[in-house]
Each structure stands twice: as structure tokens, then as C-alpha cells.
């Protein structure tokens, strides 16, 4: 089923055959060069087919059914949960809650844990490099409850400033939330260290793993985090599903987020009783086929091996940064290659990122341009927008060459 691996390095040629869309041409004679995996990854046939097969052979609603299909569908759904839970090192699948996406997972924590634990006068500590998904839910809640949000700053080379972070922890934030990998700068934060420091200051730690979990081995037990969120669609899985891992005691104590079927033990006209984990946080019919696809995605990347994926991406980003630096007028944001994931955000003289992306697209090169849902970070960088090329397990060095050639096209247009 999955592509066999040798020597812990990726056979990218074989991998590319698993992804039907990578064979596509953007227009005649112009093959797709997909450098936008940080926004969302493409999907291998193994994942697409797992879902089709599920709908074609064993689909039913889950949990409440006695008939064969319902039992099969429930088993498929719960086995997917086990896979995803195991993938991030959760002790028990009960601690792995399926959400729509990483964003909803953070909102769940904000609404449920936040509303129960935060109040006027409290502090929440985030970082300057957060995605809107890890800022806006806290701002919304702060507007309601009156706590204060601080943002730990970055060093000159766009890494977290651990000294300042440590100082800000002294103010006693109740919750510390940060991304494991910046979706703009590529910065990989020292999660274990930051978590230890935050725990030392008595804070609960939420880690945004949207950009890290797809690209490197992440283990909640080793990192000792309290909450971890991520999305399937960035890790070869389908849209429509994400996950929240939570520490058992916290999840047990938290009130439910949404109400409805599945999350109750009993309902009467005047009251209801909440059921156990993980259903307590999964109101209504869950993303069943998407869970099956999520499980298949985890199988797919686990089979390749997270260390091999990480190594491939490190080679890619080193090469990309080297080549980008040679293009006159290019300025790259984020730390040196060894501190970052396979994400390169840059500007090119005074060409606007939108124009760059558009001209690159003429060559089939797909990159993002804009604020990448990190406006505060861009404000800090003093830029309205950047162009971002991001790489994944299916990208090749030829594709980096196409990117660079495209940038010379841009320079020609704006010469």
C-alpha cells in the first residue's frame, strides 16, 4: 500500500506517484510546482481511497448503532482516533478529540478551559509569531472576561527570546500558548524548554502544532505539554478534521464546549449530564470519513518515517535558502536553516508579493503571498505582506530551481 523506504531517506520519485495532483499541468506544458504545503498539503491516493472505500463499503453513523455497518464504521472511526493519538504519543485515545481543524481546537480550549479558569486581572502569554488562530480566540475571550494578553518577543534572528519569555513568565500567566513552528518564519520553538519554564511559573501550556506535527516527530509525553492542536489537511489528510490532545485531568475537569447528541449521558427537559471523554467534546455527528482519512494520512507519513521527512525538508530548506540568497533583491525572514522548518518567506525588491505569486503561477509555481494569517507578526516585521514558499515530503530540488527561475521572471517584469 504505502511506499517502501530505504536508508531512512525519502524516495521522492516514488512518493510523487502517490499524489495524483502532482502529475497535473497548470496549463499546457506547464507542470504544477506545489510550494504551498504550509497552507495545506496535497493528499496521496492512499488517503483519498481510504475515504472512498469507507463510503463505498462500511459507512454508517457511529456510536449509537447496533447493526453491522454501524459497528464497522464505529470501529474504523475509533481505530483512526487510536492511530492519531498514538502518532503524537498520547497516553490514551480518550485524550484525543476530533475537531474541525486546529483553529476549532484552540477555540475549544479558550471557551471551555478559558471561561472556567480565566478572569479579570489574569494574564495569558502568547508569542509575537502566532497565527491568528492562536491570537483571536484569546482576544475574543479577553474582551469578555477582561484578562490581559502579552506577546513574548523575538530575537533579531526571529527566534523566541527566551530571556524575555522567562521574564514575562514571572508575571504569572495562567496560560501560555505558542506555536511549535511559525508558519511564516519557519522558526521551530524549543517546546520542551518553554513548557518546562511555563510549568515552573504555574501556567498551563497550549502548543499550536499545526505546522510541526506534519513535519517532525512530536510527542506530547516527551514535551510534557498540556494541550496540542493540529489539522489533518496540512499532513496529507483531508479537510474537515483536526485534533486536540489534552492532559487527562484538564480535559476531565473542563466543561463541554458545544451541546448536542453524542456528548451527553442523559438529557431531561430540565437538565443534562455530560458523558465521558472524548465524546464529551464531540457534539453531533463527527467527521467520520475524515477521521478514517486522517488515520490513513498518519499511516502514510509514519510509514515514511518522521525523521526521514524532517531530514528531507531540512535539505530542501537549506538548498532553497542558499539559492534564494543569491537572487539580487531577495530578503528572507526567519532564522538560519538549522532552526527552522521548510518554510521560506521573503520579499523581492519592491515587487509586491501578490505580483510575485502571480508571475510565479505563470510557470506553475504555487506559492502564497500575503500576511499568512499572521498580521501582528508582519506588523512587527514592518511589512504588509511576504511571499512564502513551503516544502513537504513530495518536493524536489528541481522545484526549487523553478522557483528561482520564476523570481528572475519577476525581476524582468519589474526591471
Amino acid at each position: 500500500m504505502a511506499t517502501p523506504q530505504t536508508n531512512n531517506t525519502l524516495d521522492v520519485g516514488a512518493i510523487r506517484k502517490d499524489f495524483p495532483i502532482l502529475g497535473r499541468e497548470i496549463k499546457e506544458g506547464v507542470p504544477l510546482v506545489y510550494l504551498d504545503s504550509a497552507a495545506s498539503s496535497q493528499k496521496p491516493s492512499q488517503v483519498i481511497h481510504a475515504m472512498s472505500r469507507f463510503y463505498e463499503t462500511e459507512y454508517a453513523n457511529v456510536h449509537r448503532g447496533i447493526h453491522t455497518l454501524a459497528e464497522e464504521a464505529t470501529a474504523a472511526f475509533e481505530s483512526a482516533r487510536e492511530k492519531v493519538a498514538r502518532f503524537v504519543g498520547a497516553e490514551s485515545p480518550r485524550q484525543l478529540i476530533f475537531t474541525r481543524n486546529a483553529t476549532e481546537a484552540i477555540n475549544l480550549v479558550a471557551h471551555s478551559w478559558g471561561r472556567a479558569n480565566l478572569q479579570d486581572g489574569d494574564r495569558v502569554l502568547l508569542t509575537q509569531m502566532e497565527h491568528h488562530s492562536n491570537i483571536v480566540p484569546w482576544q475574543m475571550l479577553a474582551a469578555e472576561l477582561g484578562f490581559t494578553i502579552d506577546y513574548a518577543p523575538m530575537t533579531e534572528d526571529h527566534r523566541i527570546d527566551l530571556e524575555r519569555y522567562g521574564q514575562m513568565l514571572e508575571q504569572g500567566p495562567k496560560l501560555v500558548g505558542f506555536t511549535q513552528m511559525s508558519n511564516v518564519l519557519g522558526t521551530i520553538n524549543p517546546v520542551a524548554r518553554m513548557t518546562e519554564m511555563a510549568h515552573g511559573a504555574g501556567a498551563v501550556v497550549l502548543v499550536d502544532g499545526a505546522q510541526s506535527v506534519p513535519h517532525m516527530a512530536v510527542n506530547v509525553a516527551e514535551l510534557d505539554v498540556d494541550f496540542l492542536v493540529f489539522s489533518a489537511h496540512k499532513m496529507c489528510g483531508p479537510t474537515g478534521i483536526g485534533a486536540l490532545y489534552g492532559r487527562r485531568e484538564l480535559l476531565e475537569e473542563m466543561p463541554p464546549f458545544m451541546g448536542g447528541g453524542e456528548m451527553i449521558k442523559r438529557v431531561q427537559f430540565d437538565s443534562f449530564t455530560v458523558t465521558e471523554l472524548p465524546s464529551k467534546f464531540e457534539a453531533g455527528t463527527p467527521p467520520i470519513a475524515q477521521a478514517v482519512g486522517f488515520g490513513a494520512a498518519v499511516d502514510y507519513i509514519s510509514n515514511l518515517g518522521m525523521p526521514a521527512i524532517r531530514q528531507h525538508e531540512q535539505e530542501m530548506i537549506e538548498r532553497a535558502l542558499d539559492q534564494l540568497e543569491e537572487v539580487p533583491g531577495v530578503r528572507i525572514y526567519g532564522p538560519a536553516a538549522e532552526h527552522k522548518g521548510a518554510v521560506a518567506a521573503f520579499t523581492l525588491s519592491d515587487a509586491h508579493p501578490h505580483d510575485i505569486a502571480e508571475i510565479l503561477d505563470r510557470r506553475g509555481v504555487a506559492v502564497r503571498a500575503g500576511h499568512h494569517c499572521a498580521m501582528p507578526l508582519h506588523e512587527k516585521l514592518g511589512l504588509p505582506a511576504t511571499t512564502r514558499a513551503s516544502f513537504y515530503l513530495y518536493n524536489t530540488s528541481d522545484e526549487i530551481d523553478s522557483l528561482i527561475e520564476g523570481l528572475y521572471d519577476v525581476k524582468k517584469v519589474f526591471a
Binding site: I66, T68, E71, T74, R94, I264, K265, E276
Partner: protein
């Protein structure tokens, strides 16, 4: 006519041997399976040496849950509380002698869950109960 509904189960469902309440009792616990509404209460009387000398169940629900409760309460009479604690779900399933999918498994195990919760108290065995 059918493995699941072999005679013993139907017979126990229709003619339970252990149905009733014990008042007073030394241990009692009641719980339900919210998925289906099966409800089981089990009452126990224990002698000076910690051995169960009387047991009864009450409640309502499907044939599996009620027959399992009937068989289980019968089985535990004469056991020590320690023996009850180490009585496993596999032993219960073997006693029932039928093949069960995951949903009906919950029906079958409800009485064991109630029994153990009654004997241990709930907190002590959260993990074990959760897996029932």
C-alpha cells in the same frame, strides 16, 4: 435459532433467578448504559469473612444485559470481595458463551461494571471501569 440468542440467554431473560432487591444490604450500586437505556442495580450481603452470601439485581434493558446480570449475580454468591475484584470481563464473557460486537459488549458488561463499582467505590478503578 441464533448464536447470540442461545437458549440460556433467552431463558435467563424471561425467567431470571436472581432478580430482586436486598434490603438491608452491605453493598449496592446502580448504573445505566446511556446508549441504550439499560439499567442495572446490584445489591450484595456479605458475611463476617467478607464473603458474599446473598446477591440480587434489578433494572431493565435488553436480553443480553439482563441475562448477564442474572448470571453474574448468581456467580458471585460465595465469592470473597477480593475474588470479585479480580473477576475479569473475559470470565464473564466466557460464562455468557456468546459472541458480542462492541455495542452489545457494553450491554453484557454493564452488570460487571455495576458490581465492581459497588465493591470498590467508583474512584478507585476509573481506568478499569472506563475500559468496560
Amino acid at each position: 435459532m441464533d448464536d447470540l440468542y442461545r437458549e440460556q440467554i433467552i431463558d435467563r431473560y424471561k425467567n431470571p433467578q436472581m432478580r430482586g432487591r436486598l434490603d438491608p444490604h452491605d453493598y449496592t450500586y446502580e448504573d445505566d448504559n446511556p446508549l441504550c437505556g439499560d439499567r442495572i442495580r446490584i445489591d450484595l450481603r456479605v458475611d463476617d469473612e467478607g464473603r458474599i452470601n446473598e446477591a440480587a439485581f434489578s433494572g431493565d434493558g435488553c436480553a443480553i444485559s439482563q441475562a448477564a446480570a442474572d448470571l453474574l449475580t448468581e456467580r458471585v454468591v460465595g465469592m470473597s470481595l477480593e475474588e470479585v475484584k479480580s473477576y475479569t470481563k473475559d470470565e464473564l464473557i466466557e460464562m455468557l458463551g456468546i459472541d458480542l460486537g462492541p455495542v452489545r459488549m457494553k450491554c453484557a458488561l454493564l452488570s460487571l461494571k455495576v458490581l465492581k463499582a459497588g465493591v470498590y467505590g467508583l474512584d478507585e478503578l476509573e481506568e478499569e471501569l472506563a475500559s468496560l
